[in-house]
């Protein structure tokens, strides 16, 4: 039974992200960043889950997460990513992309770099400096890729004032999310449900076709749609999702594969629930909810997650086409239904999520 701790924080949370642990270390996640939205003053804040060595009377750790520091953010926080241990990149609804630097000695956040007109509209009716919300950001040191409602893709490099590369009008509708497939390729999803792969090595402004990857590697991408459907795609082959699973009752805001246990998938949705999909095959009896689907061109996708580093010999259970053999178990992690769960993040055994009821939920025992 998982212990999940809730804390009301007086601001609607749009994104929560764990700080990455240094590779090779045995630490578990202990700090996360949260961004707020829809406030007159929005904040990016850093929280700690109290691994200070404080033991309460039962010998367990203090449950509640504590605020370490925060900083004012102009506009809604549309997306948040840790660039490295100390730097956080935030995408704003004013079209600005900011890099915040965390100073651990005095526990403060400061603005390290900012690109204020990363996303903007140009059009016959729009004023000359009309900003467009930046909807997604993804980092891979030292590069930052951002996408926005203006259909533009920007490639920034930290410490460079201007964008290294900009693809204008990459998409005629809003780009909702972006992820790295492998540097320098990115995958974007737009509001009419199309995945496009872009290769920055190429000069043109067209998306590259689906590349043929090494035959033994598998690239599984999961997308969550506006109608709550979860689709699993195999980027190697074809333009249709491998499977469509009817999941939530409303928009699915985020989909995450667990970074070290890729058989586990987490989704959160506007309908106020957070689901844990467990496709690991060691437990024999689970209910089967696999569904083969065809192409559904009217769903609108919102978020993507990419399953990296799958063992070459492992056939991903997500791509299996035999419903009888592979079963998926789904559990709902939040104790009661709330307003929309906007964001979630997993690292090791820890999960954090933020909701529109102005609460942040943290659990440290995902797989108990």
């Amino acid at each position: 039974m998982e212990d999940i701790y809730a804390k009301f924080v007086s601001q609607k949370i749009s994104k929560t992200r764990w700080r990455p642990v240094p590779p090779g270390s045995l630490q578990t996640a202990d700090t996360f960043a949260a961004g707020s939205w829809d406030n007159e003053e929005n904040y990016v804040s850093l929280w700690s889950i109290g691994d200070f060595g404080n033991l309460d009377s039962d010998g367990g750790f203090e449950g509640d997460h504590q605020l370490l520091c925060d900083i004012r953010h102009h506009g809604d926080v549309m997306d948040l990513q840790f660039f490295d241990q100390e730097r956080i990149v935030a995408a704003s609804s004013t079209g600005c992309v900011t890099v915040f630097l965390h100073h651990p000695n005095n526990q403060t956040l400061s603005v390290s770099q900012q690109w204020t007109t990363a996303h903007y509209h140009t059009g016959p009716g729009s004023p000359s400096c009309s900003s467009a919300p930046c909807t997604g950001v993804v980092c891979s040191n030292p590069e930052i890729v951002t996408v926005g409602e203006d259909g533009r893709i920007n490639l920034f490099r930290v410490d460079h004032k201007e964008a290294v590369r900009t693809i204008d009008n990459a998409d005629s509708s809003t780009l909702h999310a972006v992820t790295f497939l492998r540097t320098p390729e990115i995958l974007t999803v737009n509001s009419i449900g199309q995945l496009k792969i872009w290769d920055f090595r190429k000069q043109g402004n067209e998306p590259s076709q689906i590349l043929s990857l090494h035959p033994n590697q598998q690239h599984v991408v999961a997308t969550g749609g506006q109608d709550g459907m979860l689709s699993i795609w195999d980027v190697r082959q074809g333009t249709m999702p491998v499977s469509l699973l009817k999941a939530h009752e409303a928009e699915m805001w985020e989909v995450h594969f667990h970074p070290s246990n890729p058989d586990h998938l987490f989704t959160c949705s506007e309908d106020g629930s957070l689901w844990h999909w467990d496709a690991s095959t060691d437990v024999p009896e689970k209910s089967s909810l696999f569904n083969q689907g065809g192409r559904n061109s009217t769903f609108l996708s919102h978020s993507i997650s990419n399953q990296a580093n799958v063992h070459q010999s492992l056939i991903s259970s997500w791509l299996s086409t035999d419903p009888a053999k592979d079963r998926i178990e789904i559990t709902s992690l939040l104790p009661s239904r709330t307003l929309s769960v906007n964001s979630l993040d997993v690292l090791g055994p820890c999960l954090v999520c933020g909701t529109d009821s102005e609460a942040i939920y943290v659990t440290r025992q995902l797989f108990s």
Partner: protein, 648 residues
């Protein structure tokens, strides 16, 4: 009535204008009096917003709103399952939930008040803490009297708990005294023992007395006797099976024993012990002497009941309450609003309680939630207000409207409107259209709310606003997807026209990915269908499926879905097909094409500017001539091909 000072406004001029909004007032300075021309700027160029409800903007109170929203929604949802005996227990649990949320808020605000750096804000927070404390006090009493509906006997126990919860210095004082080296010589020792007796915590009082007995042997005897009296006082414990009459009888005996001790002057040597005994006898004068320790009249009331009428019935409460209030105040001060509210509660006059609370508190939160809970207990008759809805609904509507005035808490308001059967939906429809939509994500959330409640008008209106914004920003793909979502044919036509215009100007389509994947949405509007089909024609041509391309082109022209302005382009598009080596158009099709051509030529659109017209006409005429030539040639080839034997 409140006075608000507006900074920056010249109050000497006394010229201001204002306008009411849903939750706020806009104020600015005017200069109507000025006789001279308005060359100079008005003195104060700003517009000020005066907000009525500042509580909504407090950081800590926001947690109250959010948590209580969760409890409220939970209560409405389990309403159907609440039956029978468990119903009362469930409702009490909900009430306790609300109260714990209030307490948590109070705790936090108290911490902030202590830590406040400047005295003004510290005072503000402290006053907020006392308001919250009063709210919890009232709610707790309502829970005991209305929801728990404790009968005589347990009623007093609940009231004792109620009082104990709200006087917190006792525990700290207890710790203080016990922690000192010589407890009985502590300066506050007797004060502590008195308070313990006043609160009915006789076991602890007895422990203290035994310490006194150990310390001073002279009073050991008296302490022991008093201690015995304390031990033997009959109380109704929760698991006890004795009836009320039994308890009453026993209590009478015990009371007489205490009386006897007092008559015999057992405690005459120690004035402290004597006054304790008098208190335990319920002597009003003795109780009133302890006014300072009691601190308020309801404490006095409960103590008085404990020691004189422990089996008091709920309906008799108000008599004792009124007399306690009068005795306690003693004519020196008049009752405060809180006192009136509590009195109304003791009189079981729920409407009066709610009315007084509404007046006294600045925010609708308290009365809205309390009334809703009491309504679930089926305690409010359908007390119809003159505009049709009942009190519960009225309060919920007011509260939710206040939430909608807030930039962020509007999402909570939605659920409150949902549970107002008469005017909720209408109010929601009006409010939800006016939420400012700065990003697509927010728009999607609002649309989800509308779609879940089948508010198609609002969906259409919001999508139209978003589509219009997208068109202005030249995001035609977004505009099209919004108009498809709203099933707005007119707008889809507008966007398709823009696409076609772009094609005319640039010679190529700008957003192929969207048009290629319209699917069934293509049928939304004729123009959109045309756009999709025209693109399909281009694709056929690109894939060299020429016969398909040809028949598609023809059907586009004959089916009348092509706009007039586009016909010349369609006709010109036929040229390369006609020039192909193979015969693509059959004779039949060629006749059709010729007919279309002549149709078009005879009804050409009129150009506005005469100079341009000349040039345009010349170009067009040349094109049409080329077309006629190509058609004629094709006709010839087609006839020959069809006329000859098949397979050649």
């Amino acid at each position: 009535m409140r006075e608000v000072l507006i900074p920056g406004v010249n109050s000497k001029k006394k010229q201001m204008c204002f306008d009411w909004g849903p939750g706020e007032m806009l104020v600015c300075e005017t200069s109507f009096n000025k006789k001279e021309k308005s060359e100079t700027e008005p003195g104060c160029p700003f517009i000020y917003i005066i907000r009525k409800d500042i509580d909504v903007y407090s950081q800590i109170l926001r947690k109250l709103f959010n948590e209580s929203h969760g409890i409220f929604v939970g209560l409405q949802r389990i309403e159907e399952e609440l039956t029978g005996k468990s119903r009362k227990a469930q409702l009490v649990r909900v009430s306790k939930n609300y109260r714990s949320v209030i307490r948590a808020c109070m705790e936090e605000m108290h911490q902030v008040a202590i830590a406040a750096k400047d005295p003004v804000s510290g005072r503000q927070f402290s006053s907020q803490v006392s308001i919250l404390s009063a709210m919890e006090l009232i709610w707790n009493l309502c829970e005991i009297l209305f929801i728990e509906v404790a009968p005589a006997g347990p009623l007093l126990l609940h009231l004792l708990d109620w009082v104990r919860l709200h006087v917190c210095e006792v525990d700290s004082l207890l710790a203080d005294v016990l922690g000192s080296e010589n407890p009985s010589k502590h300066e506050s020792f007797w004060k502590l023992v008195t308070i313990l007796v006043l609160q009915g915590r006789l076991d602890e009082a007895r422990q203290m007395l035994s310490k006194e007995a150990d310390a001073s042997p002279s009073s050991a005897g008296m302490c022991r006797i008093l201690g015995d009296l304390m031990r033997t006082m009959p109380v109704l414990s929760p698991g006890n099976t004795q009836t009320l009459t039994e308890l009453e009888l026993k209590w009478q005996h015990w009371h007489e024993e205490c009386e006897r001790h007092l008559q015999d002057s057992t405690f005459a040597a120690s004035p402290h012990l004597e006054s304790l005994c008098k208190i335990m006898l319920g002597d009003e004068a003795a109780l009133l002497e302890q006014k300072e320790l009691l601190n308020n009249w309801y404490h006095f009331l409960v103590t008085r009941l404990l020691y004189s009428h422990p089996t008091v019935k709920p309906i008799d409460l108000h008599l004792y309450a009124q007399s306690s209030l009068d005795l306690f105040l003693g004519g020196e001060s008049s009752p405060e609003p809180l006192d009136n509210i509590l009195l109304a509660a003791f009189e079981f006059d729920i409407h009066q309680v709610i009315k007084e609370c509404s007046i006294a508190l600045s925010n609708w939160w308290f009365v809205a939630h309390l009334t809703d809970l009491l309504d679930h207990c089926k305690l409010l008759q359908s007390h119809n207000l003159y505009f049709g809805s009942n009190m519960r609904e009225f309060l919920l509507l007011e509260y939710a409207s206040g939430l909608f005035a807030h930039h962020s808490l509007w999402q909570l308001g939605v659920d409150y409107f949902d549970y107002c059967p008469e005017l909720g939906r209408v109010s929601l429809e009006l409010h939800i259209e006016r939420i400012p939509l700065s990003t697509e994500q927010k728009a999607l959330k609002v649309l989800r709310i509308c779609e879940q409640r089948q508010m198609t008008e609002q969906v259409r209106s919001i999508c139209k606003i978003l589509a219009m914004k997208a068109v202005r920003n030249n995001r035609l793909g977004s505009a099209l997807s919004w108009s498809i979502r709203a099933k707005d044919a007119a707008f889809a036509t507008l966007v398709s026209d823009r696409f076609l215009k772009d094609y005319c100007e640039r010679g190529s389509f700008s957003d192929l990915d969207l048009i290629d994947n319209l699917g069934p949405a293509m049928m939304l509007s004729d123009r959109l269908t045309f756009l999709g089909k025209y693109r399909e024609f281009h694709r056929f041509y690109g894939e060299k499926r020429l016969t398909d391309a040809a028949s598609l082109l023809l059907s586009l022209m004959t089916s009348q879905i092509a706009p007039r302005s586009f016909w010349v382009i369609l006709l010109i598009d036929a040229l390369p097909l006609l020039e192909e080596k193979e015969v693509v158009f059959s004779a039949e099709q060629t006749y059709e094409l010729m007919r279309c051509l002549e149709d078009f030529a005879s009804r050409r659109p009129v150009w506005r500017e005469p100079g341009v017209q000349r040039l345009q006409e010349d170009v067009e005429n040349t094109k049409l001539e080329m077309l006629r030539l190509a058609l004629a040639r094709n006709l010839g080839r087609a006839i020959i091909k069809e006329g000859s034997l098949e397979g050649s």
